[in-house]
Amino acid sequence: MTPNLPTITGIGSVSPYGPLAGLIPQCPLEPSAITAWTTAGLRRAFLVKPFRPASVVPGLKTRRLDRLSAWALVASFLALKDAGTELSQMDRSRVAVVFAIGFGCVELTEAFYQSAAANGWSGTDPSTFPETLANAPASHVALFHDLRGPNITVGSKGFAGESALIQAASLLRHGQADLAIVLAGGTLTRAVYEWYEVADLLSPACYNSEPLPEGGGFVPSEGVAALVLEPAGRLEVRSYAHLSSGRWAAGGQPVETIRQMLGGSVPSLTICAGNGAPCATSSTTALARELTGHGAAIVPPQAVAAGLADTSALLHLILALSSRPSSGQALLLGTSGESGFAALLLELP
């Protein structure tokens, strides 16, 4: 194995399964009813049950933060704990944070707009404004853990999670960091949910208590997934997966490009990272079949992760790893639009 191959050594998540370090126990999950705001009838989503961050991370103060920042802090703590990383033993100027966002800190952005609606633009709340910035969660992670390496927040339509993983791996490969915490996620607010609703993107399962149907829209989700990434050569602990290579593009010939990346091999497992759009499930799975044939195992997009839209990849990956797949090559695959794709080749130990 190449010593510098970026390796996933820790997992943390704040998701509808709750705040967890490591793999997520396999259990069925149904959407729950939205109560945070008044809805016209039943509206469901995969929601993170309220919890006190300080009950997970002793001493953590999150009162003025967007939930995205608070969850990022908890998820990063859990991922580092899972990795067994002793930051006190590390050069913290060599630890990077890479965060993938979709809508970013929408909760406090809405609060800022509410203060503008109530008081005019001249009467907005100064404590809220900095917390609306897209990089607030990543900077809080750096501040809490005293991480002084690169601190990056990226967005990418359909592939923000994959993009963050690729960027983090690049930092390690080029010696710009010794360890990276990669995070991806989002929060559900009224404005986000109603945006999906008015755009007619929601699954019928959002409106009734029936089990999730196949296809036909998606169920919005929320949460933050975190991975600790470090070079394989430094490992003294368990690794979940090694990240061999990654490609993503907004167009072109996905099959040719991915096959070129695979170099003739066929992954034994393909993890489809649907990105929330109604067509994503089928197009990603179809591409996976075209790439690997009907003999290889394909994990279709998981509804609870797909609801995270652009930032779904990390939770998809964690859920797939949680099913304890056998060793070999795995492909994390996402699609967007007609020919956009992201593909990451992983080696499972």
Partner: protein, 402 residues
């Protein structure tokens, strides 16, 4: 010997600024000493201050059904300017990547009405406008208008965004992610950010005075700059003109405070040092620094301290100036616009003075540029960016000969 596959070069720069479209326009404006900061009253009811607005560009009209935000349009115009002479049908161009920075992004299209009844706001036409809200949309807009289908992503790290987009694009080129990458930043003025900075009392009601002891804050501006980056091998293969070499880049974080920089500027100094290590140059070889220089009391003192640390050991003080004194702080576009100006400085040997700098911060290791444009040979220059959340980025540009 130079490895042309690992040497990152800039082969074109596109700009839309308060001086107009094009790098030449920006350079001429700065060299003429023209300040674009002007009193502003109409950006939202009750606002009175100083900003730098881009006027006379083909931006969508108010209430337009276009799904591109004002930020998107600025980015697209800058990108179109950057590739005006390119063969846009070539495979290399089609497979290019796009890394665009923004902090405002589609906030320009959203108003407080969304917070009252989102569904009703969307049905009144907001749905189309909100489509440009995600920061990723800026990169999508550039790629779609240009027909580019390589990897695309957006970067949002507050005021260091534009410079960080360039740094990440350089990493991507080293990884072979695309044959060339359009990287830069774009941000438009909007009530959200004006109100935010105003609430923090960070705005100077008058034209800003970066690095002056009597500085009172920043002025917001708008614009976009897009650099075309590629490996020297790629540039040579298509016989492209090399404007500059990106010799070094680095990113750090202060891990100090959500908004305030660390007073000693340690994180920024470390960033500058790392970029010099990557470029394999000593601090004495850097001939000019285009500073972040916002004009806020906290930023400028931290930055001055960072220069003292990063350039300790030089024989002469390091020449530094802030071009935000000409066209304000363009947030996510700032780092890209300043990178463009740094390239201009390297190519022309013109070191731009900071405007209104009459009583500089006492900093013996820094040669604060003021008054007339200074002209000297400039093999290497640095552009420095910092932002809320403690993000820092430093870029070192050298002349076209790698």
């Amino acid at each position: 010997m130079t490895d042309i596959r690992k040497t990152i070069v800039v082969t074109s720069v596109g700009v839309v600024s308060t001086y107009g479209i094009g790098l030449d326009c920006l350079q001429a404006g700065i060299l003429s000493g023209k300040c674009c900061l002007a009193p502003t009253k109409d950006l939202y009811p009750g606002f009175e201050g100083t900003t730098a607005q881009v006027c006379g560009l083909p931006l969508p009209a108010e209430g337009s059904n276009s799904r591109d935000s004002r930020t998107d349009r600025l980015a697209v115009i800058a990108a179109q300017d950057a590739v005006a002479d390119f063969d846009c049908e070539s495979v290399a161009f089609r497979e290019s990547g796009v890394v665009m920075a923004s902090t405002v992004a589609g906030l320009t299209e959203i108003d407080p009405g969304i917070s009252q009844d989102p569904a009703a706001w969307y049905r009144r036409g907001g749905l189309l406008r909100a489509a440009s809200y995600p920061v990723a949309h800026v990169a999508d807009a550039v790629a779609e208008h240009l027909g580019i289908r390589g990897p695309r992503c957006a970067v949002s790290v507050a005021c260091a965004s534009g410079a960080m987009a360039i740094a990440l694009a350089a990493n991507m080129l080293l990884d072979g992610a695309a044959p060339m990458i359009l990287a830069g930043g774009s941000d438009a003025l909007c009530p959200f950010t004006l109100s935010g900075f105003n609430s923090l009392q960070a705005l100077d009601p008058s034209p800003c005075r970066p690095f002056d002891q009597n500085r009172k804050g920043l002025n917001l501006g708008e614009g976009s700059a897009v650099l075309v980056l590629e490996t020297l091998a790629g540039a040579a293969a298509r016989n492209a003109n090399v404007l500059a070499v990106l010799r070094g880049w680095a990113m750090t974080n202060d891990a100090f405070h959500p908004t305030a920089p660390q007073e000693r500027g340690n994180g920024l100094a470390a960033c500058m040092r790392l970029s010099m290590e990557m470029a394999e140059v000593s601090c004495g070889e850097i001939g000019y620094v285009n500073a972040h220089g916002t004009g806020t009391p906290l930023n400028d003192i931290a930055e001055a301290n960072a220069y003292e640390t990063a350039f300790r050991g030089r024989n002469r003080p390091i020449p530094v100036s802030s071009t935000k004194s000409y066209f304000g702080h363009c947030l996510g576009a700032a780092g890209a616009l300043e990178a463009a100006l740094t390239i201009t400085a390297v190519r022309s040997g013109a070191l731009f003075p900071t405007l209104r700098l009459s009583n500089p911060i006492e900093s013996p290791g820094v040669d604060w540029l003021r008054g007339e444009v200074r002209r000297q040979a400039l093999p290497l220059a640095m552009s420095v960016s910092a932002g809320f959340g403690g993000s820092n980025t430093a870029l070192i540009f050298g002349s076209g000969r790698a």
